[in-house]
Amino acid sequence: MKPLTEGIPKASVSKKENRFWSKAFQQRYLYMMSLPFVIWIFIFSYVPVWGWLTAFQNYKPKNSILNQKWVGFDNFIELFQDERFYLVLRNTLAMSTMGLVVGFTIPVIFALLLNELRGQFFKRSVQTISYLPHFVSWVVVAGLVTKMLSTDGGAVNQLLIYLHIIDTPIQFMAKGELFWGILTLSDLWKEMGWNSIIFLAAMAGIDPELYEASTVDGAGRFRKMWHITLPGIRTTFMVLFILSIGHLVSIGFEKQFLLGNPLVTDFSEVLDLYALKYGIQMSRYSYGTAIGIFNSVVSILLVLIANGIYKRVTKESII
Protein backbone atom coordinates (compact mmCIF):
# COMPACT_ATOMS: atom_id res chain seq x y z
CA MET A 1 0.00 0.00 0.00
CA LYS A 2 2.68 2.51 1.03
CA PRO A 3 4.33 4.18 -1.97
CA LEU A 4 8.11 3.91 -2.24
CA THR A 5 9.54 7.29 -1.43
CA GLU A 6 13.27 6.71 -1.73
CA GLY A 7 15.09 8.34 -4.60
CA ILE A 8 12.19 10.48 -5.76
CA PRO A 9 12.08 14.25 -5.21
CA LYS A 10 10.36 14.74 -1.90
CA ALA A 11 7.93 17.54 -2.56
CA SER A 12 6.06 15.95 -5.47
CA VAL A 13 5.70 12.59 -3.73
CA SER A 14 4.60 13.88 -0.40
CA LYS A 15 1.77 15.77 -2.04
CA LYS A 16 0.52 12.64 -3.74
CA GLU A 17 1.15 10.62 -0.63
CA ASN A 18 -0.68 13.12 1.47
CA ARG A 19 -3.68 12.92 -0.79
CA PHE A 20 -3.66 9.14 -0.59
CA TRP A 21 -3.40 9.04 3.19
CA SER A 22 -5.91 11.78 3.77
CA LYS A 23 -8.41 9.93 1.59
CA ALA A 24 -7.57 6.67 3.38
CA PHE A 25 -8.22 8.47 6.66
CA GLN A 26 -11.55 9.74 5.36
CA GLN A 27 -12.45 6.20 4.44
CA ARG A 28 -11.16 4.69 7.67
CA TYR A 29 -14.54 3.16 8.50
CA LEU A 30 -14.62 1.41 5.13
CA TYR A 31 -11.18 -0.02 5.82
CA MET A 32 -12.29 -1.04 9.29
CA MET A 33 -15.22 -2.90 7.82
CA SER A 34 -13.28 -4.68 5.09
CA LEU A 35 -9.67 -5.30 6.11
CA PRO A 36 -10.46 -7.98 8.73
CA PHE A 37 -12.25 -9.99 6.04
CA VAL A 38 -9.40 -9.54 3.58
CA ILE A 39 -7.04 -10.97 6.18
CA TRP A 40 -9.51 -13.75 6.87
CA ILE A 41 -9.85 -14.73 3.22
CA PHE A 42 -6.11 -14.63 2.82
CA ILE A 43 -5.70 -17.16 5.63
CA PHE A 44 -8.57 -19.45 4.70
CA SER A 45 -8.45 -19.36 0.90
CA TYR A 46 -4.93 -18.39 -0.13
CA VAL A 47 -2.79 -20.09 2.49
CA PRO A 48 -4.18 -23.59 1.64
CA VAL A 49 -2.95 -23.12 -1.93
CA TRP A 50 0.49 -22.64 -0.46
CA GLY A 51 -0.13 -26.08 1.01
CA TRP A 52 0.03 -27.53 -2.50
CA LEU A 53 3.77 -27.64 -1.96
CA THR A 54 3.24 -30.63 0.31
CA ALA A 55 2.41 -32.73 -2.76
CA PHE A 56 6.07 -32.48 -3.78
CA GLN A 57 7.34 -33.36 -0.32
CA ASN A 58 7.27 -36.19 2.11
CA TYR A 59 5.28 -34.10 4.55
CA LYS A 60 5.59 -34.70 8.26
CA PRO A 61 3.28 -32.53 10.36
CA LYS A 62 5.84 -31.95 13.11
CA ASN A 63 8.00 -29.74 10.86
CA SER A 64 7.06 -26.54 9.06
CA ILE A 65 6.20 -26.70 5.38
CA LEU A 66 9.55 -25.22 4.37
CA ASN A 67 11.50 -27.72 6.42
CA GLN A 68 10.48 -30.93 4.65
CA LYS A 69 12.07 -33.58 2.50
CA TRP A 70 11.48 -32.77 -1.19
CA VAL A 71 10.58 -35.73 -3.35
CA GLY A 72 9.70 -34.14 -6.69
CA PHE A 73 6.92 -35.92 -8.55
CA ASP A 74 7.14 -39.17 -6.58
CA ASN A 75 3.65 -38.81 -5.13
CA PHE A 76 2.15 -38.26 -8.56
CA ILE A 77 4.04 -41.23 -10.03
CA GLU A 78 2.78 -43.42 -7.23
CA LEU A 79 -0.73 -42.13 -7.82
CA PHE A 80 -0.69 -42.89 -11.54
CA GLN A 81 0.68 -46.36 -10.88
CA ASP A 82 -2.05 -47.28 -8.42
CA GLU A 83 -4.72 -49.45 -10.04
CA ARG A 84 -7.26 -48.30 -7.49
CA PHE A 85 -6.83 -44.74 -8.77
CA TYR A 86 -8.18 -45.65 -12.20
CA LEU A 87 -11.14 -47.45 -10.71
CA VAL A 88 -11.89 -44.42 -8.56
CA LEU A 89 -11.48 -42.10 -11.54
CA ARG A 90 -13.92 -44.24 -13.53
CA ASN A 91 -16.49 -44.03 -10.71
CA THR A 92 -16.05 -40.28 -10.43
CA LEU A 93 -16.48 -39.64 -14.13
CA ALA A 94 -19.38 -42.07 -14.47
CA MET A 95 -21.37 -40.52 -11.63
CA SER A 96 -20.60 -36.94 -12.58
CA THR A 97 -21.51 -37.47 -16.24
CA MET A 98 -24.76 -39.17 -15.29
CA GLY A 99 -25.46 -36.37 -12.84
CA LEU A 100 -24.74 -33.76 -15.49
CA VAL A 101 -27.05 -35.28 -18.09
CA VAL A 102 -29.93 -36.12 -15.75
CA GLY A 103 -29.41 -33.09 -13.53
CA PHE A 104 -29.85 -30.71 -16.44
CA THR A 105 -32.44 -32.28 -18.70
CA ILE A 106 -35.02 -33.20 -16.07
CA PRO A 107 -35.09 -29.81 -14.28
CA VAL A 108 -35.50 -28.10 -17.66
CA ILE A 109 -38.44 -30.36 -18.51
CA PHE A 110 -39.87 -29.79 -15.05
CA ALA A 111 -39.57 -26.02 -15.45
CA LEU A 112 -41.07 -26.21 -18.94
CA LEU A 113 -44.11 -28.09 -17.66
CA LEU A 114 -44.48 -25.84 -14.60
CA ASN A 115 -44.44 -22.89 -16.95
CA GLU A 116 -47.44 -24.37 -18.77
CA LEU A 117 -49.53 -24.63 -15.60
CA ARG A 118 -52.39 -22.16 -15.43
CA GLY A 119 -53.54 -22.45 -11.82
CA GLN A 120 -51.30 -20.21 -9.74
CA PHE A 121 -52.10 -21.83 -6.41
CA PHE A 122 -51.41 -25.32 -7.68
CA LYS A 123 -48.23 -24.16 -9.38
CA ARG A 124 -46.93 -22.45 -6.26
CA SER A 125 -47.75 -25.47 -4.07
CA VAL A 126 -45.89 -27.87 -6.37
CA GLN A 127 -42.92 -25.51 -6.40
CA THR A 128 -42.81 -25.21 -2.62
CA ILE A 129 -42.97 -28.98 -2.24
CA SER A 130 -40.28 -29.51 -4.85
CA TYR A 131 -37.85 -27.20 -3.00
CA LEU A 132 -38.16 -29.12 0.27
CA PRO A 133 -35.52 -31.83 -0.36
CA HIS A 134 -32.92 -29.21 -1.28
CA PHE A 135 -32.99 -27.86 2.26
CA VAL A 136 -32.64 -31.24 3.89
CA SER A 137 -29.15 -32.56 4.59
CA TRP A 138 -27.58 -35.43 2.67
CA VAL A 139 -27.53 -37.38 5.92
CA VAL A 140 -31.31 -37.28 6.01
CA VAL A 141 -31.63 -37.97 2.29
CA ALA A 142 -29.33 -40.98 2.57
CA GLY A 143 -31.52 -42.24 5.41
CA LEU A 144 -34.70 -41.76 3.38
CA VAL A 145 -33.24 -43.43 0.30
CA THR A 146 -32.03 -46.41 2.30
CA LYS A 147 -35.45 -46.66 3.91
CA MET A 148 -37.36 -46.44 0.63
CA LEU A 149 -35.13 -49.06 -1.02
CA SER A 150 -34.90 -51.44 1.92
CA THR A 151 -35.95 -55.05 1.54
CA ASP A 152 -38.22 -55.08 4.56
CA GLY A 153 -41.05 -52.70 3.87
CA GLY A 154 -39.26 -50.30 1.53
CA ALA A 155 -41.79 -48.47 -0.62
CA VAL A 156 -40.01 -49.18 -3.90
CA ASN A 157 -39.86 -52.92 -3.37
CA GLN A 158 -43.45 -52.99 -2.16
CA LEU A 159 -44.61 -51.10 -5.21
CA LEU A 160 -42.68 -53.35 -7.60
CA ILE A 161 -44.09 -56.46 -5.95
CA TYR A 162 -47.60 -55.02 -5.98
CA LEU A 163 -47.27 -54.35 -9.70
CA HIS A 164 -45.97 -57.91 -10.20
CA ILE A 165 -42.75 -56.67 -11.77
CA ILE A 166 -40.70 -58.67 -9.27
CA ASP A 167 -41.49 -61.57 -6.92
CA THR A 168 -38.87 -61.11 -4.24
CA PRO A 169 -37.53 -57.80 -2.92
CA ILE A 170 -34.32 -56.54 -4.55
CA GLN A 171 -31.39 -55.68 -2.30
CA PHE A 172 -30.82 -52.33 -3.97
CA MET A 173 -28.17 -51.01 -1.60
CA ALA A 174 -26.05 -54.17 -1.78
CA LYS A 175 -25.70 -54.25 -5.56
CA GLY A 176 -22.65 -52.35 -6.78
CA GLU A 177 -23.84 -52.08 -10.35
CA LEU A 178 -26.98 -50.24 -9.19
CA PHE A 179 -25.07 -47.70 -7.11
CA TRP A 180 -24.47 -45.10 -9.83
CA GLY A 181 -28.13 -45.10 -10.79
CA ILE A 182 -29.32 -44.88 -7.19
CA LEU A 183 -26.97 -41.99 -6.50
CA THR A 184 -28.01 -40.10 -9.63
CA LEU A 185 -31.71 -40.55 -8.91
CA SER A 186 -31.26 -39.51 -5.25
CA ASP A 187 -29.50 -36.39 -6.41
CA LEU A 188 -32.26 -35.69 -8.90
CA TRP A 189 -34.89 -36.19 -6.22
CA LYS A 190 -33.08 -33.73 -3.96
CA GLU A 191 -32.24 -30.98 -6.43
CA MET A 192 -34.76 -31.10 -9.29
CA GLY A 193 -37.07 -28.42 -7.93
CA TRP A 194 -34.25 -26.20 -6.80
CA ASN A 195 -32.38 -26.37 -10.09
CA SER A 196 -35.54 -25.46 -11.98
CA ILE A 197 -35.71 -22.06 -10.21
CA ILE A 198 -33.19 -20.45 -12.53
CA PHE A 199 -34.79 -21.84 -15.66
CA LEU A 200 -38.21 -20.64 -14.51
CA ALA A 201 -36.75 -17.20 -13.89
CA ALA A 202 -35.24 -17.19 -17.38
CA MET A 203 -38.61 -18.22 -18.83
CA ALA A 204 -40.34 -15.42 -16.94
CA GLY A 205 -37.93 -13.01 -18.60
CA ILE A 206 -38.98 -13.93 -22.14
CA ASP A 207 -40.78 -11.12 -23.94
CA PRO A 208 -44.56 -11.93 -23.94
CA GLU A 209 -44.90 -10.27 -27.33
CA LEU A 210 -43.06 -13.20 -28.85
CA TYR A 211 -45.83 -15.53 -27.68
CA GLU A 212 -48.56 -13.18 -28.85
CA ALA A 213 -46.99 -12.82 -32.27
CA SER A 214 -46.69 -16.56 -32.67
CA THR A 215 -50.32 -17.06 -31.61
CA VAL A 216 -51.31 -14.70 -34.41
CA ASP A 217 -49.19 -16.79 -36.75
CA GLY A 218 -51.10 -19.85 -35.64
CA ALA A 219 -48.41 -21.60 -33.61
CA GLY A 220 -49.64 -24.20 -31.17
CA ARG A 221 -48.46 -24.81 -27.65
CA PHE A 222 -45.67 -27.23 -28.47
CA ARG A 223 -44.41 -25.01 -31.25
CA LYS A 224 -44.17 -22.14 -28.79
CA MET A 225 -42.36 -24.27 -26.23
CA TRP A 226 -39.92 -25.49 -28.86
CA HIS A 227 -39.35 -22.25 -30.77
CA ILE A 228 -39.71 -19.58 -28.08
CA THR A 229 -39.36 -20.95 -24.55
CA LEU A 230 -36.42 -23.29 -25.11
CA PRO A 231 -34.33 -20.82 -27.16
CA GLY A 232 -35.19 -18.21 -24.51
CA ILE A 233 -33.37 -20.12 -21.80
CA ARG A 234 -30.45 -21.22 -23.99
CA THR A 235 -27.88 -18.76 -22.64
CA THR A 236 -28.73 -19.48 -19.01
CA PHE A 237 -28.57 -23.18 -19.74
CA MET A 238 -25.18 -23.02 -21.45
CA VAL A 239 -23.57 -20.88 -18.74
CA LEU A 240 -24.68 -23.27 -16.01
CA PHE A 241 -23.77 -26.30 -18.08
CA ILE A 242 -20.21 -25.18 -18.80
CA LEU A 243 -19.66 -24.20 -15.18
CA SER A 244 -20.86 -27.66 -14.12
CA ILE A 245 -18.44 -29.33 -16.48
CA GLY A 246 -15.70 -27.77 -14.38
CA HIS A 247 -17.01 -29.76 -11.44
CA LEU A 248 -16.97 -33.10 -13.26
CA VAL A 249 -14.06 -34.45 -11.27
CA SER A 250 -14.63 -32.49 -8.09
CA ILE A 251 -18.11 -33.70 -7.26
CA GLY A 252 -17.33 -34.00 -3.57
CA PHE A 253 -17.88 -37.19 -1.70
CA GLU A 254 -20.71 -36.47 0.71
CA LYS A 255 -23.37 -38.46 -1.13
CA GLN A 256 -21.04 -41.34 -1.97
CA PHE A 257 -19.83 -41.48 1.60
CA LEU A 258 -23.34 -41.55 3.03
CA LEU A 259 -25.04 -43.82 0.49
CA GLY A 260 -22.17 -46.24 0.05
CA ASN A 261 -21.38 -49.27 2.17
CA PRO A 262 -18.56 -51.84 2.21
CA LEU A 263 -20.42 -54.04 -0.29
CA VAL A 264 -20.38 -51.45 -3.04
CA THR A 265 -17.07 -49.57 -2.56
CA ASP A 266 -15.82 -50.66 -5.98
CA PHE A 267 -18.57 -48.50 -7.44
CA SER A 268 -19.02 -45.83 -4.78
CA GLU A 269 -15.47 -44.67 -4.09
CA VAL A 270 -14.70 -41.34 -5.78
CA LEU A 271 -11.53 -39.24 -6.00
CA ASP A 272 -12.22 -37.07 -2.97
CA LEU A 273 -13.08 -40.10 -0.88
CA TYR A 274 -9.86 -41.74 -1.99
CA ALA A 275 -7.96 -38.57 -1.03
CA LEU A 276 -9.68 -38.56 2.33
CA LYS A 277 -8.84 -42.19 2.99
CA TYR A 278 -5.16 -41.85 2.20
CA GLY A 279 -4.66 -38.23 3.18
CA ILE A 280 -6.37 -38.01 6.53
CA GLN A 281 -7.23 -41.48 7.78
CA MET A 282 -3.77 -42.86 6.91
CA SER A 283 -2.06 -39.49 7.54
CA ARG A 284 -0.38 -39.55 4.10
CA TYR A 285 -0.88 -35.83 3.65
CA SER A 286 1.41 -35.42 0.65
CA TYR A 287 -0.29 -38.19 -1.32
CA GLY A 288 -3.73 -36.79 -0.50
CA THR A 289 -2.68 -33.33 -1.64
CA ALA A 290 -1.38 -34.75 -4.93
CA ILE A 291 -4.87 -36.17 -5.58
CA GLY A 292 -6.35 -32.78 -4.83
CA ILE A 293 -4.02 -31.07 -7.30
CA PHE A 294 -4.90 -33.60 -9.98
CA ASN A 295 -8.55 -32.72 -9.30
CA SER A 296 -8.04 -28.99 -9.67
CA VAL A 297 -5.92 -29.22 -12.82
CA VAL A 298 -8.41 -31.50 -14.57
CA SER A 299 -11.30 -29.21 -13.54
CA ILE A 300 -9.66 -26.14 -15.03
CA LEU A 301 -8.79 -28.01 -18.23
CA LEU A 302 -12.35 -29.27 -18.61
CA VAL A 303 -13.84 -25.77 -18.24
CA LEU A 304 -11.41 -24.37 -20.78
CA ILE A 305 -12.15 -27.16 -23.27
CA ALA A 306 -15.91 -26.80 -22.81
CA ASN A 307 -15.67 -23.06 -23.21
CA GLY A 308 -13.51 -23.48 -26.29
CA ILE A 309 -16.04 -25.78 -27.93
CA TYR A 310 -18.88 -23.46 -27.05
CA LYS A 311 -16.97 -20.49 -28.44
CA ARG A 312 -16.33 -22.29 -31.68
CA VAL A 313 -19.95 -23.29 -32.09
CA THR A 314 -21.65 -20.06 -31.06
CA LYS A 315 -18.90 -17.42 -31.28
CA GLU A 316 -19.70 -16.43 -27.68
CA SER A 317 -17.57 -16.98 -24.61
CA ILE A 318 -18.67 -17.75 -21.09
CA ILE A 319 -15.49 -17.08 -19.21
Binding site: M33, V38, P48, T54, L114, M148, M192, I197, G220
Partner: protein
Protein backbone atom coordinates in the same frame (compact mmCIF):
# COMPACT_ATOMS: atom_id res chain seq x y z
CA UNK B 1 -63.66 -25.14 -37.12
CA UNK B 2 -62.43 -28.71 -37.22
CA UNK B 3 -58.86 -27.58 -36.53
CA UNK B 4 -59.94 -25.47 -33.61
CA UNK B 5 -61.72 -28.25 -31.73
CA UNK B 6 -58.90 -30.66 -32.41
CA UNK B 7 -56.37 -28.33 -30.92
CA UNK B 8 -58.42 -27.76 -27.83
CA UNK B 9 -58.74 -31.53 -27.30
CA UNK B 10 -55.00 -32.00 -27.50
CA UNK B 11 -54.61 -28.97 -25.30
CA UNK B 12 -56.85 -30.52 -22.68
CA UNK B 13 -55.00 -33.81 -22.90
CA UNK B 14 -51.70 -32.04 -22.43
CA UNK B 15 -53.04 -30.05 -19.46
CA UNK B 16 -54.22 -33.27 -17.85
CA UNK B 17 -50.83 -34.84 -18.44
CA UNK B 18 -49.05 -31.88 -16.82
CA UNK B 19 -51.35 -31.98 -13.78
CA UNK B 20 -50.88 -35.71 -13.32
CA UNK B 21 -47.13 -35.35 -13.71
CA UNK B 22 -47.01 -32.60 -11.08
CA UNK B 23 -49.12 -34.60 -8.65
CA UNK B 24 -46.74 -37.54 -9.07
CA UNK B 25 -43.75 -35.27 -8.44
CA UNK B 26 -45.40 -33.99 -5.27
CA UNK B 27 -46.16 -37.52 -4.05
CA UNK B 28 -42.68 -38.83 -4.79
CA UNK B 29 -41.21 -35.86 -2.95
CA UNK B 30 -43.46 -36.01 0.09
CA UNK B 31 -44.03 -39.73 0.55
CA UNK B 32 -40.62 -40.55 2.09
CA UNK B 33 -41.07 -37.80 4.68
CA UNK B 34 -44.60 -38.87 5.55
CA UNK B 35 -43.55 -42.50 5.76
CA UNK B 36 -40.72 -41.62 8.13
CA UNK B 37 -43.09 -39.44 10.17
CA UNK B 38 -45.52 -42.34 10.51
CA UNK B 39 -42.79 -44.75 11.59
CA UNK B 40 -41.41 -42.28 14.12
CA UNK B 41 -44.80 -42.15 15.85
CA UNK B 42 -45.46 -45.87 15.59
CA UNK B 43 -44.73 -48.53 18.19
CA UNK B 44 -41.36 -49.97 17.25
CA UNK B 45 -42.34 -53.63 17.66
CA UNK B 46 -45.37 -53.08 15.49
CA UNK B 47 -43.17 -51.32 12.88
CA UNK B 48 -41.20 -54.51 12.34
CA UNK B 49 -44.38 -56.13 10.95
CA UNK B 50 -43.97 -53.79 8.04
CA UNK B 51 -46.60 -52.34 5.75
CA UNK B 52 -46.67 -48.86 7.29
CA UNK B 53 -47.51 -46.10 4.86
CA UNK B 54 -48.30 -42.55 5.87
CA UNK B 55 -50.12 -42.92 9.19
CA UNK B 56 -49.03 -44.70 12.38
CA UNK B 57 -50.83 -47.94 13.27
CA UNK B 58 -50.08 -47.97 16.98
CA UNK B 59 -49.42 -44.39 18.03
CA UNK B 60 -46.70 -43.80 20.61
CA UNK B 61 -44.30 -41.07 21.72
CA UNK B 62 -41.84 -43.59 23.08
CA UNK B 63 -39.38 -43.23 20.21
CA UNK B 64 -39.10 -39.52 20.85
CA UNK B 65 -38.82 -40.04 24.59
CA UNK B 66 -35.96 -42.43 23.97
CA UNK B 67 -33.97 -40.17 21.69
CA UNK B 68 -34.31 -37.23 24.04
CA UNK B 69 -32.78 -39.45 26.70
CA UNK B 70 -29.51 -39.88 24.77
CA UNK B 71 -26.77 -37.61 26.09
CA UNK B 72 -25.01 -37.49 22.74
CA UNK B 73 -28.12 -36.31 20.96
CA UNK B 74 -28.93 -33.63 23.50
CA UNK B 75 -25.38 -32.27 23.30
CA UNK B 76 -25.57 -32.47 19.51
CA UNK B 77 -28.88 -30.66 19.45
CA UNK B 78 -27.53 -27.89 21.66
CA UNK B 79 -24.40 -27.50 19.53
CA UNK B 80 -26.35 -27.49 16.28
CA UNK B 81 -28.65 -24.77 17.58
CA UNK B 82 -25.74 -22.66 18.87
CA UNK B 83 -23.71 -22.93 15.70
CA UNK B 84 -26.73 -22.15 13.55
CA UNK B 85 -27.68 -19.04 15.52
CA UNK B 86 -24.16 -17.70 16.05
CA UNK B 87 -22.92 -18.69 12.62
CA UNK B 88 -25.88 -17.12 10.84
CA UNK B 89 -25.59 -13.84 12.75
CA UNK B 90 -21.90 -13.57 12.01
CA UNK B 91 -22.32 -14.71 8.42
CA UNK B 92 -25.03 -12.18 7.62
CA UNK B 93 -23.28 -9.23 9.25
CA UNK B 94 -19.89 -9.98 7.73
CA UNK B 95 -21.22 -10.64 4.22
CA UNK B 96 -23.23 -7.42 4.21
CA UNK B 97 -20.39 -5.37 5.70
CA UNK B 98 -17.95 -6.59 3.08
CA UNK B 99 -20.54 -6.17 0.34
CA UNK B 100 -21.17 -2.58 1.42
CA UNK B 101 -17.52 -1.57 1.19
CA UNK B 102 -17.19 -3.24 -2.22
CA UNK B 103 -20.28 -1.43 -3.48
CA UNK B 104 -18.90 2.02 -2.65
CA UNK B 105 -17.64 3.44 -5.97
CA UNK B 106 -15.33 5.92 -4.22
CA UNK B 107 -13.61 3.34 -1.99
CA UNK B 108 -9.86 3.30 -2.72
CA UNK B 109 -9.27 -0.38 -2.10
CA UNK B 110 -12.42 -1.51 -3.89
CA UNK B 111 -10.77 -2.84 -7.03
CA UNK B 112 -8.04 -4.98 -5.58
CA UNK B 113 -10.29 -6.24 -2.81
CA UNK B 114 -12.95 -7.30 -5.33
CA UNK B 115 -10.27 -9.12 -7.26
CA UNK B 116 -8.93 -10.88 -4.17
CA UNK B 117 -12.44 -12.09 -3.34
CA UNK B 118 -13.53 -13.04 -6.86
CA UNK B 119 -10.41 -15.08 -7.49
CA UNK B 120 -11.23 -17.48 -4.66
CA UNK B 121 -14.35 -18.60 -6.51
CA UNK B 122 -12.19 -20.31 -9.14
CA UNK B 123 -9.90 -22.45 -7.03
CA UNK B 124 -9.71 -24.15 -3.66
CA UNK B 125 -6.75 -25.46 -1.77
CA UNK B 126 -8.42 -28.84 -1.53
CA UNK B 127 -9.31 -31.22 1.23
CA UNK B 128 -5.91 -32.04 2.70
CA UNK B 129 -4.32 -28.55 2.71
CA UNK B 130 -7.54 -27.30 4.29
CA UNK B 131 -7.30 -29.97 6.95
CA UNK B 132 -3.65 -29.12 7.64
CA UNK B 133 -4.55 -25.44 7.94
CA UNK B 134 -7.12 -26.20 10.63
CA UNK B 135 -4.54 -28.32 12.36
CA UNK B 136 -1.89 -25.60 12.28
CA UNK B 137 -4.36 -22.99 13.50
CA UNK B 138 -5.18 -25.26 16.44
CA UNK B 139 -8.85 -25.38 15.51
CA UNK B 140 -9.18 -29.16 15.57
CA UNK B 141 -11.25 -30.37 18.49
CA UNK B 142 -12.69 -26.92 19.20
CA UNK B 143 -16.14 -25.46 18.72
CA UNK B 144 -14.66 -22.49 16.83
CA UNK B 145 -13.92 -24.77 13.90
CA UNK B 146 -17.64 -24.49 13.09
CA UNK B 147 -17.64 -20.70 13.22
CA UNK B 148 -14.30 -19.19 12.20
CA UNK B 149 -13.74 -20.91 8.82
CA UNK B 150 -17.35 -20.06 7.91
CA UNK B 151 -17.29 -16.37 8.83
CA UNK B 152 -17.78 -15.28 5.24
CA UNK B 153 -19.02 -16.72 1.99
CA UNK B 154 -17.79 -14.94 -1.13
CA UNK B 155 -20.91 -16.02 -2.98
CA UNK B 156 -23.10 -14.26 -0.38
CA UNK B 157 -20.93 -11.15 -0.52
CA UNK B 158 -21.61 -10.85 -4.24
CA UNK B 159 -25.33 -11.51 -3.86
CA UNK B 160 -25.65 -8.73 -1.27
CA UNK B 161 -23.41 -6.43 -3.26
CA UNK B 162 -25.51 -6.66 -6.39
CA UNK B 163 -28.53 -5.87 -4.25
CA UNK B 164 -26.86 -2.77 -2.75
CA UNK B 165 -25.81 -1.69 -6.24
CA UNK B 166 -29.51 -1.56 -7.08
CA UNK B 167 -30.28 0.89 -4.24
CA UNK B 168 -30.25 4.62 -5.04
CA UNK B 169 -26.84 6.07 -4.15
CA UNK B 170 -28.43 9.44 -3.38
CA UNK B 171 -29.64 8.02 -0.05
CA UNK B 172 -26.07 7.63 1.13
CA UNK B 173 -25.03 11.03 -0.17
CA UNK B 174 -27.81 12.87 1.60
CA UNK B 175 -27.01 11.02 4.83
CA UNK B 176 -23.42 12.13 4.41
CA UNK B 177 -24.45 15.75 4.06
CA UNK B 178 -26.38 15.33 7.30
CA UNK B 179 -23.09 14.38 8.92
CA UNK B 180 -23.36 10.57 9.07
CA UNK B 181 -20.13 8.60 8.72
CA UNK B 182 -19.72 5.35 6.75
CA UNK B 183 -20.22 3.22 9.84
CA UNK B 184 -23.58 4.78 10.68
CA UNK B 185 -24.66 4.76 7.04
CA UNK B 186 -24.07 1.02 6.97
CA UNK B 187 -26.03 0.26 10.12
CA UNK B 188 -28.79 2.85 9.83
CA UNK B 189 -29.42 2.97 6.08
CA UNK B 190 -27.94 0.03 4.20
CA UNK B 191 -28.81 -2.81 6.57
CA UNK B 192 -32.50 -1.91 6.97
CA UNK B 193 -32.90 -1.56 3.21
CA UNK B 194 -31.23 -4.90 2.57
CA UNK B 195 -33.73 -6.97 4.56
CA UNK B 196 -35.02 -9.09 1.64
CA UNK B 197 -31.56 -10.13 0.50
CA UNK B 198 -30.39 -10.62 4.08
CA UNK B 199 -33.31 -12.99 4.63
CA UNK B 200 -32.15 -14.98 1.63
CA UNK B 201 -28.56 -15.37 2.68
CA UNK B 202 -29.58 -15.93 6.30
CA UNK B 203 -31.61 -18.91 5.11
CA UNK B 204 -28.71 -20.27 3.05
CA UNK B 205 -26.24 -19.85 5.89
CA UNK B 206 -28.56 -21.25 8.54
CA UNK B 207 -29.41 -24.31 6.46
CA UNK B 208 -25.72 -24.84 5.77
CA UNK B 209 -24.88 -24.78 9.48
CA UNK B 210 -27.83 -26.90 10.51
CA UNK B 211 -27.08 -29.54 7.87
CA UNK B 212 -23.30 -29.70 8.28
CA UNK B 213 -21.86 -32.99 9.48
CA UNK B 214 -18.58 -33.20 7.60
CA UNK B 215 -16.74 -30.68 9.76
CA UNK B 216 -17.74 -32.61 12.86
CA UNK B 217 -16.57 -35.83 11.22
CA UNK B 218 -13.24 -34.34 10.17
CA UNK B 219 -12.38 -32.03 13.06
CA UNK B 220 -14.37 -33.06 16.11
CA UNK B 221 -14.79 -36.83 15.86
CA UNK B 222 -12.79 -37.40 19.04
CA UNK B 223 -14.52 -34.74 21.05
CA UNK B 224 -18.07 -35.81 21.97
CA UNK B 225 -18.66 -32.47 23.67
CA UNK B 226 -18.62 -30.75 20.28
CA UNK B 227 -20.77 -33.20 18.39
CA UNK B 228 -23.66 -32.03 16.20
CA UNK B 229 -27.09 -33.44 15.53
CA UNK B 230 -26.41 -34.32 11.90
CA UNK B 231 -23.24 -36.13 12.87
CA UNK B 232 -25.08 -38.19 15.48
CA UNK B 233 -27.72 -39.07 12.91
CA UNK B 234 -25.01 -40.03 10.44
CA UNK B 235 -23.37 -42.33 13.00
CA UNK B 236 -26.64 -44.12 13.67
CA UNK B 237 -27.37 -44.31 9.96
CA UNK B 238 -24.04 -45.86 9.07
CA UNK B 239 -24.03 -48.22 12.04
CA UNK B 240 -27.43 -49.68 11.23
CA UNK B 241 -26.51 -49.85 7.57
CA UNK B 242 -23.38 -51.89 8.16
CA UNK B 243 -24.81 -53.82 11.08
CA UNK B 244 -22.22 -52.68 13.59
CA UNK B 245 -23.30 -51.12 16.84
CA UNK B 246 -23.76 -47.50 17.70
CA UNK B 247 -20.75 -46.52 19.79
CA UNK B 248 -22.42 -44.82 22.74
CA UNK B 249 -23.09 -47.71 25.20
CA UNK B 250 -25.90 -45.76 26.78
CA UNK B 251 -27.53 -45.42 23.41
CA UNK B 252 -26.95 -49.04 22.54
CA UNK B 253 -29.16 -50.22 25.36
CA UNK B 254 -31.90 -47.80 24.52
CA UNK B 255 -31.74 -48.74 20.86
CA UNK B 256 -32.01 -52.40 21.80
CA UNK B 257 -35.14 -51.55 23.74
CA UNK B 258 -36.78 -49.56 20.96
CA UNK B 259 -35.19 -50.65 17.64
CA UNK B 260 -32.69 -48.64 15.65
CA UNK B 261 -35.13 -48.18 12.82
CA UNK B 262 -37.61 -46.19 14.87
CA UNK B 263 -34.83 -44.18 16.51
CA UNK B 264 -33.41 -43.26 13.14
CA UNK B 265 -36.77 -42.09 11.90
CA UNK B 266 -37.47 -40.02 15.00
CA UNK B 267 -34.13 -38.24 14.72
CA UNK B 268 -34.71 -37.64 11.02
CA UNK B 269 -37.93 -35.85 11.88
CA UNK B 270 -36.29 -33.80 14.64
CA UNK B 271 -33.62 -32.71 12.17
CA UNK B 272 -36.07 -31.90 9.37
CA UNK B 273 -38.85 -30.06 11.18
CA UNK B 274 -36.97 -26.79 11.84
CA UNK B 275 -36.24 -26.46 8.13
CA UNK B 276 -39.81 -27.24 7.25
CA UNK B 277 -40.96 -24.45 9.55
CA UNK B 278 -38.73 -21.83 7.97
CA UNK B 279 -38.21 -22.20 4.25
CA UNK B 280 -41.75 -21.89 2.82
CA UNK B 281 -42.07 -18.41 4.32
CA UNK B 282 -38.85 -17.23 2.75
CA UNK B 283 -39.61 -18.66 -0.67
CA UNK B 284 -40.21 -15.37 -2.44
CA UNK B 285 -36.92 -14.02 -1.09
CA UNK B 286 -34.66 -16.92 -1.96
CA UNK B 287 -36.10 -17.34 -5.43
CA UNK B 288 -35.13 -13.72 -6.05
CA UNK B 289 -31.73 -14.21 -4.42
CA UNK B 290 -30.94 -17.25 -6.55
CA UNK B 291 -31.80 -15.37 -9.72
CA UNK B 292 -29.73 -12.36 -8.66
CA UNK B 293 -26.68 -14.50 -8.00
CA UNK B 294 -27.01 -16.35 -11.28
CA UNK B 295 -27.31 -13.19 -13.32
CA UNK B 296 -24.21 -11.76 -11.67
CA UNK B 297 -22.02 -14.79 -12.25
Amino acid sequence: MQGYTQRSVSDKLFDTFVYVFMVIVAIVTLYPFLNVLAISFNDSIDTVRGGLTIYPREFTLKNYETIFGFDGLLVGFRNSVIRTVVGTLIGVISASMMAYTLSRPDFQARRWMSFVFALTMYFTGGLIPGFLLMKNLGLIGTFSVYIIPAILSVWNVFIVRSYIDGLPYALQESAKIDGANDWTIFWKIILPLCQPVLATIALFIAVGHWNAWLDTYLFNNRNPGNTTLQYELMKILLSTQTGSNYRDPNAQQAIAAVSPESIKMAITIVVTVPILLVYPFLQKYFVKGMTLGAVKS
